[in-house]
């Protein structure tokens, strides 16, 4: 399952949800896991523009991340690259695509992160990849449930 897909429905118009992704103070207020705080964020929200953000763990560890915007279509779609500054398990550059669909004033946000673990691997993705891993993921779940 190297492609990560998360779908959420938010009780807010998609202009608001889109702005929460593209305005620095707003992104900083929610980015990162529970208990973390977002800090300095620079967002050059134009195609080719760079973004950079930081989250701070409850213990005070800072984790910086950065990327480049590939596509900005307010309030429907946002595409950007994502990479951590530091070496480690999460050092790979991945591609994030966020779609915002209007559901009678609510917003269905579809988040897709692709490109694990390398760009070459992402380029090598095919339909079989997804299908295979759906089967395998089900298999692993089955094992977990024993």
């Amino acid at each position: 399952m190297p492609d990560l897909t998360i779908t959420r429905v938010f009780d807010a118009p998609r202009e608001l949800v889109f702005a929460a992704w593209t305005e620095p103070e707003q992104l900083a207020s929610w980015l990162g896991p529970h208990g973390y705080t977002g800090s300095a964020v620079t967002l050059a929200t134009r195609p080719g523009g760079a973004w950079r953000a930081c989250i701070r763990s409850p213990e005070g560890d800072e984790h910086w991340m950065h990327g480049v915007y590939r596509e900005i279509a307010a309030p429907e779609r946002l595409v950007f690259t994502f990479a951590w500054d530091t070496e480690g398990d999460l050092r790979t550059e991945t591609l994030v695509t966020v779609g915002f669909a209007d559901l009678d004033g609510k917003t269905e946000m579809t988040f897709v992160q692709t490109g694990f673990p390398t760009a070459a691997d992402r380029d090598g993705h095919d339909a079989g990849w997804t299908a295979s891993f759906e089967d395998l993921t089900g298999f692993i779940r089955g094992k977990d449930a024993r």
Partner: protein
Amino acid sequence: MTDTLSRTFSALADPTRRAILARLSAGEATVNELAEPFPMSLPAVSRHLKVLEEAGLITRGRTRQWRPCRLEAKPLEGVADWVATYRRFWDGGFDRLEEHLRTLTGGPGDA
């Protein structure tokens, strides 16, 4: 030190090997059965099986002559855990995004 995750990804970085694993997720199979859907020779399929076996993604029966292949999910759990790290990062953020939007709209939200 052996980097298990790299070895797993390396073994998975081939569509034929992924298809073989998908087939094995439905149950054990012999080399002949596995080779059927692929337009390649048995030796070529055997080489793929060797890579999967070395990565610990499959095991092969020792007792029976036809040595059926069996999927081993343990290394895949490592892959799933690795991706899950990203899920934790984003899922946690989206919970907070929901809170944030609630303060913006002033509504009670749906949670």
